[in-house]
Symmetry: C2
Subunit: 289 residues, 2 copies
Amino acid sequence: MNFIDEINYLKKVIEDELNKIFINKRGYQEKIFQAMKYSLFTGGKRIRPIFLLKSCEMVSGSYDEAIPFALALEMIHTYSLIHDDLPSMDDDDFRRGKPTNHKVFGEAIAILSGDGLLNLAYEIMTENTILLSKNKEDYYKFLLATKEISRASGVDGMIGGQVVDILSDSKSIDSLELEFMYRCKTAALIEAAVVSGGIIGGANEMEINNLRKYGNCIGLGYQIRDDILDIDEDKAINKTTYLSFNSFEEAKKKVESLSKEARESLEVFKDKNTTFLEDIAYYLINRNK
Amino acid sequence: MNFIDEINYLKKVIEDELNKIFINKRGYQEKIFQAMKYSLFTGGKRIRPIFLLKSCEMVSGSYDEAIPFALALEMIHTYSLIHDDLPSMDDDDFRRGKPTNHKVFGEAIAILSGDGLLNLAYEIMTENTILLSKNKEDYYKFLLATKEISRASGVDGMIGGQVVDILSDSKSIDSLELEFMYRCKTAALIEAAVVSGGIIGGANEMEINNLRKYGNCIGLGYQIRDDILDIDEDKAINKTTYLSFNSFEEAKKKVESLSKEARESLEVFKDKNTTFLEDIAYYLINRNK
């Protein structure tokens, strides 16, 4: 399968599994299931669950074990978008060309559907850890993956980055604080995807360290690539970005060196098939949207 | 120790432990730690963590194992209050006599500090499951407790109840839907407190079933007692409550019978010290605020 076919195949796998979760979800609170599904199915790239699945596969793990965690990660990413779009946060009316959750369901249901997705992510990880574990080592492995995802999602990860982002609207930040924000807001969850995939697949400590480096480089590169694309589109003029401290050429060079560093950190997996993770490193960093 | 002294002792234990979590929590995102602490320390009754600790103790479990889960439960309860108070939800300016989180920190930080508390609850449960488990049985026990808490907090529990509550502002609900709302919004988390405490303490299946019944009766009784107190205070005239379908006398009788049923479900623990759980059943249902 070529790279794009594989991406599309994985997206379908993930979306079919996400759909299954909502079968038979009825009751007086039905509105929230509609709101959660609405945002889960507004055409995301599914980058994070794809990273998790492929990282797990690379170290010879199985999709069956990785899928619940991949779904949880996508739910956490989606909840963060719903809350980010709220009027008191970024106040966005559209996302990926569709009205944002609060525009369709109202602010109260939007807040609750974000809460619901975050909580559901943990329900799924916890229940599947119980279901999938046969021995002490299994429990430990799945709990380490959950820990990785939970830390990356919390106040020392994604939420922390969002706090800095919000506060930076009313004060100037320096390049150190910007890097902190990028590492928390974007890189942390991508890193957690790759690392937790590796953990579930049975990677050893040295391998985990290299996956962590890979994820971190990709996450940071992805965000700086976003800054470059926003300049191309004339967006975000008043926001502090990587381009507030660096020239356009410097930004492009940084992205290329992060992409290279990411690919180099895969060299320890010389007896494995690293093609997909190499290709996606290249693709994300050269993408045009 | 008498009942009130014991409650105050347990509150202090819980608050000291909550405080410890925020020691050394600094960084660019410091504002969110302030916001999370602010709401965690606005004089809550700590009912849920107390239930968890005492239920665990009753079946001969240790506080050391129960405390992380008790803290997580209090964080989940607190996050739900922060989000409930938001302008697009109940729009409350004060809670327990103090300005609500969004009044002090703004809506964006309030939303994020709620998200942060919910996520932190799972970080704590996951990390402590890893730390406290020595064998397969330990992992299973702590994961079952986490599962219990996560289901009660989610779209089929507390969040689901809040959705029905929000939607009931613009439509009338019948007594069945009201009971669903009460069971989700209030009873689910109290039930989860008692049941997860029992699981951590090593209760057997029959004991768990009885703790579940106890928690459910207490939760429902607690909510109906709230309705009675609101009528006494002339609050909530336009809201559908238990008193929309029942007379004042019927409500009082219902609360008494739930309290009795709760105490009766403790009879299976005849060789244990059930005094505290009996007393609190009596106290919650006769409280005047």
